[in-house]
Symmetry: C2
Subunit: 424 residues, 2 copies
């Protein structure tokens, strides 16, 4: 008998019929003999409707109140799901983040989990009931204020709860069959990945793969929670995210490449004619960090000997573009650059695989594939298990397809499923 934590996103519980379908699935798991704890997001568009209501009241609602408002969404979905399971003759009780013991810091709207003390959930499970827990929400330690966890919050709730309950597996139900070697909307021949390591999944998430958010994977890795990403619309096995690259029946060697991720959400800033003296680059990155902006890739050109000046480029989330350019422009006198170029028509391709550490020639093959496809590389960055390149945005899809084929990731038999997801 296993203890399974299941997480269902908003699209899986969008209306009464969807809730009944999910309830049936949960009841079957329970009847099969497993203990089941379920984490659920708000129904379909509920969150957007609540945000819209708040916007009708004021353009800048206080975050504390916004969190109270938004958590109404899970309250509705979790109680309806508990009702639906009960009506199938399986006992079910729903619990808020607070009742489930999800303790967070007080950063309303993007709270971090400090601790999970799920004694009431354990009690419910011990009594034979299915426990339904509101995802995305927690409560502050001392003031008992309601918080929300931000993007991907429900996935994080599920993994955190699985860790605290020592669950055997955390199943993340979504509207795709698992993690794919590339976005099937761009690469129809993309294959579902059966197993992937935490490290690879981290790089995939950080590089733009949307099926799991970074913090959820980080949490799973830290506590060693096996995560099974699978579809709520089929019973097929999905993708297992885990530490152990091999097991009985699986190939002894990790495939070289796990997949190709892409990201269209970044922009590039080039700072032109910076004096090439020690401390200038540091000053630039201080200024950008001071504006609360996280950089991704950085390239410094070779200094032009005759002028003693150079260009520095970096990428950043496009949503931070305005803040970064404002901060840099303000400090133009002391940094001493001549001009600043902002470009949000870039795309980033990342090739990820723990196997590339021990296989030479991966980057050569990557660059050859891009070159053969006539795609220019603007920036490059690498880690032990990832190579990322920046291209023109309108060449990104071609780049992803070319690289996917070059590393033999294409499959003819796997049915491609369109990506989606709720971001909560």
């Amino acid at each position: 008998m296993a203890l399974i934590v299941q997480k269902y996103g908003g699209s899986s519980v969008a209306d009464a019929d969807s809730i009944k379908r999910v309830a049936k699935r949960i009841a079957e798991a329970k009847r099969a003999g497993d203990d089941v704890v379920v984490v659920v997001s708000a129904m379909g568009d509920t969150t957007d409707e609540l945000i819209d209501l708040a916007q009708q009241i004021t353009p800048l609602p206080p975050q504390r109140e916004m969190d109270i408002l938004l958590t109404a969404g899970e309250r509705i979905s979790m109680s309806l799901l508990a009702m639906a399971i009960s009506s199938l003759g399986v006992e079910a009780q729903s619990f808020t983040g607070q009742q489930a013991g999800v303790i967070t810091d007080s950063a309303h709207g993007k709270a971090r989990i400090i601790d999970v003390t799920p004694s009431r959930i354990q009690q419910a499970v011990d009594s034979g009931a299915v426990a339904i827990v509101a995802g995305f929400q927690g409560v502050t330690q001392h003031t008992n204020d309601v918080t929300t966890l931000g993007r991907g919050g429900s996935d994080t709730t599920a993994v955190a709860l699985a860790a605290a309950l020592h669950a055997d597996v955390c199943e993340i139900y979504t509207d795709v069959d698992g993690v794919f070697t590339a976005d099937p909307r761009i690469v129809p021949s993309a294959r579902k990945i059966d197993r992937i390591t935490y490290d690879e999944m981290l790089e995939m998430a950080a590089s733009g793969a949307k099926v799991l958010v970074l913090r959820c994977v980080e949490y799973a890795r830290r506590y060693g929670v096996p995560v099974h990403v699978r579809s709520s619309f089929s019973t097929r096995t999905g993708t297992l995210v885990t530490d152990a690259p091999t097991e009985q029946g699986a190939p002894m060697e990790q495939p070289i490449i796990a997949g190709v991720a892409h990201d269209r959400s970044e922009a590039k800033i080039t700072i032109v004619d910076v004096p090439d003296v020690p401390g200038k680059a540091a000053r630039i990155f201080e200024v950008v960090a001071g504006a609360g902006v996280n950089l991704d890739m950085i390239v410094q050109n070779v200094s032009v000997a005759s002028t003693g000046r150079t260009d520095i480029s970096f990428t950043l989330p496009a949503t931070d573009g305005a803040a970064a350019t404002a901060a840099l422009t303000e400090h133009q006198p002391d940094i001493g650059f001549t001009s600043l170029q902002y470009d949000d028509t870039i795309g980033k391709l990342s090739l990820i695989g723990a196997g590339m550490k021990s296989h030479p020639g991966v980057s050569a093959r990557l660059f050859a594939a891009l070159s053969d496809a006539g795609i220019n590389i603007e920036m490059i960055s690498t880690s032990e298990i990832r190579i990322s390149v920046v291209t023109r945005a309108d060449q990104l899809d071609d780049a992803v397809r070319a690289v996917h084929t070059a590393f033999d990731l294409d499959s003819a038999d796997e049915q491609a499923v369109v990506y989606g997801g709720t971001g909560r």
Copy 2:
């Protein structure tokens, strides 16, 4: 500087514009120098929509889950109201029933308040903020389960909070100008009552007046909380429900009659040919009480000497009719009656006034008025400050108008306002 508890019902916060209007009113009260605590119901039809959602899932949802579902409604309205007040530059924080310290028993769907420990509300008030509290909800003492208080729950929350905070007044905002001498939809010349005692208001509520529920008035009387029933659509003074019948400037003598209430929700059961021996009536009422039914009026006819048998009639909520007739029919052999008549086409008129204690002739005047109007009286019951009569349902409106006129309650100058209200 006073401490005021204000309660706004669902129709006062039905949409974003209504919420902004109410927020403006609250901000004005705060700026005028008073401390303000606000109790709010769910927006307009939210509760009905949530009930409808639950019905789509299962016809018999578990009450614990139903309570969690329904309390999402106040969560939405209270946070939006806090946002609206904040946007006017007045600090506001919203609190759930649990955060406000509303402790109840565990009777889900109709919980009773056991205690109110509003330390967080007091803190918020002391810090200069307006505290917004979710009406209608509480939390169980030991298990921290969410409960709802049932019909009129938000009014009761407001009065209970006012008592615990030692507030100067509890203002119940509604869509009428106050308590009227009769339902203005039936008697267009009904007058707004300026002051009414707890006892009179209790009798009004128990006799069908819908503006305040019985338990709310009971709570107010027990703790001596002055309740001001007024309109959220005007700034006019409404009706003050209080202990002291007089004050400076008010007339020294209480008017004889406070008002005429009516009730169309009852039914009458007549048990025909009951053996007129000791213990039979007691047995009947035992059986009915055993079915969980509360009786209202009871009439036993004079026994027919020749047969030694009699008829017993009583009124009860029409919603309990099926349960009562089933229980009685089951016990027909040991009670020994010959037949049972069920009649849900009755109406009840009640004349209420603390002054009638010291004024003889009130009942004579009442019966004369009804007789002059050609209305037959089927049952009568009286208390110190109330006379109730049962009539045919289709004669009830005429009866109310005739009695209202006979006791000089008509007014030409008061604008009649249509009754409404949300029942929560």
